[in-house]
Subunit: 351 residues, 2 copies
């Protein structure tokens, strides 16, 4: 039961015209009779024709596919990010191919390879947690494939980037905690290899410094920011002489997990410890007390990255556009998991 594919030759034969004319008519090119266009299109419909994009792409060197490499799809932040990309790509007639690195450098490299041999017109990448080598990133320039790095980018690479100001966000979050009267503030950080976590941590340190708060290395805990990491980090705090009076976590997963663990231990949030997370995941507003967190414009990052990528793909290669970094706004969403020291001691604040 072989399936015979309908080609422009078949249409041409039936209509007694040339394949070239059919091709032109189908694409609505200029310099072709309107009557011919009508004839061809209706015949194409009738015969159930559909373009072979492989053949067209081979000829035009365009696939209308963009590749997207992310750590893991099933994280609220990343799913939203991809959703934003798809939204824009779809409007512009591009297909989105997704690859997940599972936060593994080797897998990320393999992803990039398969993406490249799939002849995508461009790519968007958000680095895995432990990626160190940049060779596979450089490959894009070498192969002249437009690339936009998003969120987890590599500072040292000269490519288009879409990010947030993680330093500022970390600074503000910490400053906010300080403004509440806290001065013994812990930070749950991710791998310093990644700009996002390094910058959030640096913002945290800068705020402490700015307000003359003590910088205690024991309060700066590096973790992989998983759910289990939240518990581990709390355990590390518990063995200290003094519990911190506030925690700024580099993501919501860890922050929420920490809150739950602390509550299980009978430590009141925010009465005894104030907590601020990062991302504004759905779980943040379900937690009790609701989690104070930094709103991360995941969808906007995706949309911006896709727009940039597509305009680069569609641009004249000649005009050699400068690489740009787009920095999107974040905002601190203040909710119940953080509260002032003064009121706290009176034990009045719940949520």
């Amino acid at each position: 039961m072989e399936h015979k594919r309908i080609t422009i030759y078949d249409i041409a034969d039936r209509l007694g015209i040339s394949p070239t004319t059919v091709s032109r008519a189908l694409r609505g090119q200029q310099g072709i009779a309107k009557s011919t266009i009508k004839k061809v299109r209706s015949m194409a419909d009738e015969m159930g024709y559909s373009l072979n994009t492989l053949a067209a792409g081979l000829r035009t060197r365009k696939s209308y596919n963009i590749g997207v490499v992310v750590p893991q799809i099933d994280r609220a932040f990343i799913a939203t990010f991809i959703s934003g990309i798809e939204e824009i790509a779809n409007e512009a007639g591009f297909n989105v191919m997704i690859y997940q690195s599972m936060d593994d450098e080797a897998k990320e490299i393999r992803n990039v390879m398969s993406l490249m041999s799939s002849s995508v017109d461009g790519a968007i990448i958000s680095l895995s947690m432990n990626t160190k080598s940049m060779d596979h990133i450089r490959l894009f320039k070498a192969k002249n494939i437009p690339l936009v790095m998003a969120d987890r980018v590599a500072d040292e690479m000269d490519v288009d980037k879409v990010v947030i100001d993680n330093f500022e966000a970390g600074y503000h979050a910490t400053e906010y905690l300080i403004s509440l009267g806290h001065d013994y503030i812990a930070h749950f950080a991710g791998s310093p290899e990644r700009n996002v976590y390094r910058d959030r941590k640096d913002g945290y340190l800068a705020a402490l410094k700015r307000y003359n708060k003590p910088i205690n290395p024991q309060l700066l805990i590096y973790e992989n920011l998983s759910e289990a990491a939240g518990v581990r980090a709390v355990e590390k705090l518990l063995i200290l002489d003094q519990l911190p009076d506030a925690i700024f976590a580099a993501n919501d997963t860890t922050a929420v997990s920490a809150v739950l663990h602390l509550q299980k231990l009978g430590i009141a949030i925010p009465d005894e410890i104030s907590i601020v997370g990062f991302n504004n995941d759905p779980i943040a507003s379900i937690l009790k007390p609701q989690l104070t967190t930094v709103d991360h414009p995941a969808r906007e990052i995706g949309k911006t990255a896709a727009k940039r990528l597509i305009s680069r793909i569609n641009a004249d290669e000649e005009m050699d556009i400068q690489n740009e970094t787009f920095t999107l706004k974040t905002s601190l969403i203040i909710r119940g998991s953080s509260g002032p020291v003064s009121i706290r001691s009176e034990g009045k604040v719940h949520w």
Copy 2:
């Protein structure tokens, strides 16, 4: 600055052999000298060659792309589902193209069209909330493109399907609530157009009937299962003479939203109303009290669908495999949002 693409001809020229031999060596075909393979591969590496899959696909009529159409990527359940698909596809050397219908039939149809002209080797689809027409689904068979429907499937279509037993899950959830002593049980249902919601509802009704509980149409509320829907549904219950003593919601989003709204109104969960959700989203275990819910094997559904699709793609067309429906197991996860009537009246149960 045109970028010259390296082809097998370039490699052949440099090595003084034929392109055919290069092609064979690269693919490690049988009947070729090991020394040639080595020579060719190292030269390919040196020259930075990468396969043009468009050309190869044009010749072999395979793209190694599969298309996936889902309602919306940024829903916990769907993101996990896609993650499972990508996992399997990636292992098998297939790329995953995603399209989101945004729960809109027209968009879904457009998605299917672009997917088809992108010459995918097969597709996986989960229907939008309001899809009625099946013409675009039939197109797959007409064009001889393997298709697997997953989760939100169309009962009337004869295609491969991967589902859960929604009737059974709805029956069990309701039966469980009855076993707790509840007999005035409400159900928040989704569009009866979709098998998943229709079956959950039918399971609910069957359980009520089986245990001789009254079936009250006012307690069966059809909604779009969004967050706002949870609030709306609760409002509809509030105007009744009597509040139900339990609610079974067809998804967690609505269940959680309902719990929050009820709590805001001062109604204790589960003391005054027991609630059961569906999906086991991350928010379910963060809610206080934690949400009793039906665990939905989203990742397994994705993996099963991908495996089936790929084995069909790789199968001999001749052997004309029968369509199958794979039904995966669900389980009821009992947590704090539901409790027995007896204890409840004593006001002892919190969580």
